[in-house]
């Protein structure tokens, strides 16, 4: 049972350190080239930005070594890469004097995000402790969503009421609500998935749930509609609803839920489209972006983004050689277009692949972790990141109507950075649990068929045999019964 002594061969996380060095080199290289292409000199604050980023990255690395030694080694470097490339982009726009781009503020929020993530890794020793907060998380999530609607606290900016102001400080609470809802859904679904999956009639080959089991999904649907109507925020509404439907599917393995979810979303979207002028406008901008009437007005931003990406072409114009000043909000909502201009399709695809790697890691650890809550939480967080990416990039590249969501880790904006770093802390915590060696076999893995006691002893099939075996079996089952049932479930599905 040497496997029960995990301390012996805890990974040294060399791969993570090496990847971090490359990621930081890319961030520093970007900033260096930005400065040399704009002013032909090292940009102001180059060393501050570089050293702070490097110090933060390696602090996180050391925290992981101490607190989550088995955690995934790719997630942290990938996120650091995205964050430091966005640092270079925002520094570049700050140097070009674009109104709103603020590199030092971005650095401050990045630092805060990483520190909060490290604290989260220290505080949350086991992700299963979050399960106790299931219904607290629901209430927190709903309160966060509703906060911007409170008069005096919320404020409408650019047609969407998604910010709250406390003094000089602005926050986008929906970003944090995303995490609260993921925790709530995971806790709720792990307790109720059997009823949701098995009860109900079959209709056209689909297992339809019972009406009374539909309650929570109706509540979430109502919340996301309230966001859509009250805050005029298409993206967040889509995100919450997509998160719930995605996690329902993860929990129950029933395609019926996806069909119901898509039908409900479709119905909601059609109704919203026919009632609200701002939704109609979004659809018109999407379908008819190059209409001369719209191009100078409402679709100006979208079309400028498309022009920028086309100017970038295959290999990009190079750091500092684009024209982000023509794209409104090139540092936040449209940072993807701005990146496409300077790094080209080659760079954009690399960035998308890095996101894909993060999402894949999340889903991989959802498969690997043993408890149902962890599976759903990791799966849900990974899914919501993928969905957010699709909504943002799809909107900018005119695949779907443009909505106001931020690109995780890249867009300038404190709430988004902070919230997504917390998501990463949770993912790392779950990945540590998933990869920690355990005496129990994991799904699909071949277990050691030779018992430890087999070392040449004469066989004792007698009175002593079963007793000895019993203690051995008892020692082997260091894990909880919950784990054992989990395995059987994992196997027979």
């Amino acid at each position: 049972m040497s496997a029960l002594r995990p301390e012996e061969n805890a990974p040294t996380r060399v791969a993570e350190a090496l990847l971090l060095v490359v990621a930081l080199a890319l961030g520093m290289g970007g900033m260096w080239m930005v400065g040399h292409s704009i002013d032909n000199s090292l940009p102001e604050g180059f060393w501050t930005y570089s050293i702070v980023l490097a110090a933060l990255a390696f602090t996180a690395h050391i925290v992981l070594r101490l607190r989550a030694p088995y955690a995934d080694q790719v997630i942290l470097p990938a996120v650091i890469l995205l964050n430091s490339v966005s640092m270079a982009t925002i520094l570049r726009q700050d140097l070009a004097g674009i109104d709103g781009a603020n590199a030092s503020r971005h650095l401050m929020w990045t630092a805060l995000g990483i520190i909060v993530a490290c604290v989260a890794l220290f505080v949350i020793k086991d992700h299963r402790s979050l399960r106790r907060l299931t219904y607290t998380a629901m209430i927190v999530g709903i309160v966060l969503v509703i906060l911007p609607l409170v008069p005096g606290l919320g404020r409408e900016i650019n047609g969407a009421r998604i910010w709250i102001y406390i003094g000089n400080f602005s926050l986008q609470p929906a970003e944090f609500a995303k995490i609260a809802f993921a925790v709530f859904f995971a806790g709720y679904l792990v307790a109720n998935r059997d009823t949701l999956a098995l009860a109900g009639k079959k209709f056209l080959g689909l297992q339809l749930p019972r009406l009374r089991d539909l309650g929570p999904i109706l509540i979430v649907w109502a919340v996301s509609l309230a966001v859509l109507i009250g805050e005029k925020d298409l993206g967040t509404s889509l995100l919450f609803f997509g998160l719930f439907v995605g996690m329902l599917y993860l929990a129950t393995d029933r395609v019926g839920w996806i069909v119901i979810g898509l039908a409900m979303f479709g119905a909601g979207a059609v109704v919203a489209w026919s009632i609200f002028s701002h939704v109609q406008l979004r659809v018109n901008i999407w379908l008819d972006a190059f209409n001369p009437d719209l191009m100078t007005g409402h679709s100006y931003q979208l079309v400028q983004g498309l022009f920028a990406m086309s100017y970038g072409g295959m290999f990009g114009a190079g750091w500092g050689e684009g024209y982000p000043e023509y794209i409104p909000f090139a540092f936040s909502d449209f940072i993807y277009a701005s990146l496409g201009e300077e790094l080209g399709l080659t760079g954009l695809l690399a960035i998308l692949l890095i996101y894909l790697v993060i999402v894949q890691r999340g889903l991989r650890h959802a498969v690997g972790v043993r408890d149902g809550f962890g599976k759903l939480l990791a799966g849900g967080l990974a899914f919501v990141m993928a969905l957010q990416l699709f909504v943002v990039v799809g909107g900018i590249t005119r695949v779907i109507p443009l909505t106001g969501l931020t690109l995780p880790f890249m867009a300038q904006g404190g709430s988004s950075l902070l919230a997504n770093w917390i998501v990463i802390a949770l993912m790392l915590r779950i990945s540590d649990a998933a990869r920690r060696p355990s005496a129990l076999p994991t799904r699909g893995a071949l277990a050691d068929p030779v018992p430890a006691a087999a070392s040449g002893d004469a066989i004792a099939v007698g009175g002593a045999g079963p007793v000895q075996a019993e203690t051995e079996a008892g020692a082997g089952r260091g894990a909880t019964p919950d784990d054992a049932t989990q395995i059987v479930r994992g196997v027979d599905r």
């Binding site: 990621a23 292409s37 190079g318 076999p441 018992p451 006691a453 049932t485």
Partner: protein, 163 residues
């Protein structure tokens, strides 16, 4: 900075970006084989190698087997096809949720039977079940050795060890 230097740096940057992506993917490739299990990063070499010669054990029912059965398979009953990887801690079968193989079967007791290794050999033990555990027609009393491929009847299900 000259045009040429800038172009080279620009392309070099993209190359480095892809180097990062590809090395991240290379780290991930180690995972494709599946997560680590109790036996460590890789299966121990001696497991993959040919089975060593059986130790001479006079009078023993069967010599200890290396590379013996690796999984328990349900071959009949509602859970047919279910496979459980075997570990040195054995497999507990019954209706209780704490069992390794949970049977939803009225003919099974909550802790019905146990299949476990001892001295390189696998055994089945009836844990005082109401309806009994059978190998063929024979009811298992106490502990019996269990060879791979021999069906064990537990309630409506039949399980067997497989290589």
């Amino acid at each position: 900075m000259s045009e040429l230097t800038f172009t080279l740096l620009r392309l070099g940057y993209l190359v480095l970006l892809w180097v990062f992506v590809l090395s991240a993917v290379a780290v991930l490739r180690r995972d494709l084989a599946g997560p680590r299990t109790a036996s460590g990063r890789r299966r121990r070499p001696e497991l993959a190698g040919p089975a060593p010669t059986p130790a001479p054990g006079g009078g023993a029912p069967r010599a200890p087997q290396r590379g013996g059965p690796s999984r328990l398979v349900v071959v009949a009953g509602p859970l047919t096809g279910t496979t459980i990887p075997l570990t040195s801690s054995g497999v507990l079968i019954g209706r209780a949720p704490s069992c390794t193989l949970v049977l939803d079967d009225d003919y099974s007791s909550s802790r019905h039977a146990r299949i476990f290794p001892q001295g390189g050999q696998w055994f089945v033990e009836d844990l005082g079940s109401t309806n009994g555990t059978y190998i063929g027609e024979e009811r298992v009393q106490g502990i019996l050795p269990l060879a791979p491929g021999v069906g064990v009847q537990i309630g409506q299900s039949v399980v067997e060890l497989q290589g």
